[in-house]
């Protein structure tokens, strides 16, 4: 009995030490999520979401949406976003064709509206020397659709659900301030069972643009089981478009 108690204490201390050393690792996100693409609940394609803790740029993690199948786009076209590991805000995002970036958005040193130097986001296309620069005046984290998968999951894992959180959301070549907020829980089918998810919506000017249903699996991994894109902001369209996870790798 004594030995068992000592063992429990040691295990507890090891666990505590681990948590103290690696507090950031308490959030677990799958390395791969396979999604089915559904239009009006009918499967029309698939794609894969990939996460690597270490991105190729210093202090970044890598997120990718790849391998689109079953639609007009080819699997040669993919999206990659690098986020700062510390706060999940964007460092750079690329649209790639094969291995070549067709366009990129990147955080850089630039000249601000008052002529002073500062950090700005620069959008550019491979085929054009033109650049569009966005200078932000809020401290809200900067996210895009790819990183929002990760950020929404992290928000649920952190239990930060009571109030709407603001983000500078890259939408096209520049940002819009959007809110991410929880609206409750919902059951979603996953691997033959109905599982409980936390529902987050992303709104622009009080109009819903994206809906995430975040699931925590038995091993403590958080990820979007369902991502719904609101394609008609007026609400008149009956079409729904959804990415639904059917498999993950840890």
């Amino acid at each position: 009995m004594k030995k068992f108690t000592v063992l429990l204490i040691i295990m507890g201390l090891v666990g505590l030490g681990w948590q103290t050393l690696w507090p950031a690792d308490s959030f677990k996100f799958p390395s791969t999520i396979k999604y089915k693409l559904l239009k009006n609940d009918r499967v029309v394609g698939s794609c894969r979401f990939e996460y690597e803790v270490k991105g190729k740029f210093e202090n970044t993690s890598s997120l990718k949406l790849v391998n689109f199948e079953g639609m007009g786009l080819t699997s040669q076209q993919w999206l990659q976003t690098y986020i700062f590991t510390k706060d999940s805000s964007i460092y750079a995002t690329f649209i790639l064709e094969g291995k070549k970036p067709a366009s990129e958005i990147r955080l850089k040193e630039g000249v601000g509206f008052d002529g002073s130097a500062g950090q700005v986001f620069v959008y550019k296309e491979l085929t054009s020397p033109d650049q569009i620069q966005t200078e932000l005046f809020t401290q809200y984290p900067v996210i895009d659709l790819v990183s929002s998968f990760f950020v929404a999951s992290r928000k649920v894992a952190a239990g930060n659900l009571t109030k709407a959180e603001k983000f500078n959301f890259f939408f096209g070549k520049s940002t819009k301030i959007m809110d991410m907020m929880s609206i409750g829980t919902e059951k979603v089918p996953y691997q033959g069972k109905e599982v409980s998810t936390q529902v987050l919506i992303v709104r622009y000017n009080n109009v819903e643009i994206f809906r995430f249903k975040i699931f925590q699996d038995a091993d403590g991994y958080y990820f979007p089981l369902s991502v719904i894109v609101v394609t008609d902001f007026t609400g008149s369209s009956q079409d729904t478009f959804e990415m639904r996870a059917n498999e993950i790798q840890k």
Binding site: M71, F113, T127, F137, L145, G172, K173, S174, N205, F241
Partner: protein, 217 residues
């Protein structure tokens, strides 16, 4: 063809356009790109309680001398190109309203000087400057967006920089595009009147840049 595809992928993510592509063959995607992009942009809602986004225009600033370039020959010519770009943006998106009564900052010396003085005030940091522009110029005049810019003609540099700036109140940001011209690319002479005019390509590039920036509000 490729550049159009790139553009659509950039305007909104692949995923959010998928439903619009579904059921179409590869070659049809590009044909619908511009139309889809325009549709999505038009659908983005204006700020709560508003039907429109109210846009106004102030003359460019000389970023070297830190003064307005109002009342110069080049200022009026750039203004014409900027107004053309604003009008074309409005033609593509009917939620944009330009210089509407009750939603206007008059393009006067006084207002231009206010903008210049705030922009280049050495005693304010960037956030204070943008807050002052919003609180003292935009909000009292019910304006959502100011289109203005920098004009830099540096004797050390063979190129003139024309840089439209779009100040967006509700998204707390400034979007800008830097255009560079040699003097002969920028200023031409009207063969009929012998008056100075913007060269056609420069005029169109400035108008196009303003239009493009107004798609990113």
């Amino acid at each position: 063809m490729k550049s159009k595809l790139i553009r659509i992928l950039t305007i909104i993510s692949i995923a959010s356009l998928l439903p619009l592509f579904m059921g179409q063959e590869d070659c049809q995607i590009n044909d619908t790109v511009q139309q889809l992009m325009d549709t999505l942009n038009k659908k983005m809602p204006p700020p709560p309680g508003q039907d429109k986004l109210y846009i106004t225009h102030l003359t460019f600033m000389d970023a070297l001398t830190k003064t307005s370039i109002a009342n110069t020959e080049v200022a009026e010519l750039i203004n014409e190109a900027v107004i053309k770009g604003m009008t074309e943006a409005q033609n593509k998106n009917n939620k944009l309203a330009i210089n509407e009564p009750g939603h206007l900052i008059e393009n006067t010396d006084n207002n231009n000087n206010n903008l210049v003085n705030t922009t280049f005030d050495p005693n304010l940091d960037k956030n204070d400057k943008i807050n002052k522009i919003i609180n003292e110029m935009m909000t009292p005049n019910n304006v959502d967006v100011i289109v203005t810019g920098h004009y830099i003609d540096d004797a050390q540099n063979p190129k003139v920089s024309v840089r439209p700036l779009v100040i967006v109140k509700h998204n707390q940001k400034i979007v800008t595009k830097n255009l560079q011209f040699t003097k002969s690319e920028l200023m031409c002479t009207d063969p009929n009147s012998q008056k100075k005019i913007l060269c056609r390509a420069a005029h169109d590039q400035i108008a196009q840049a303003v239009q493009e920036l107004l798609e990113e509000l």
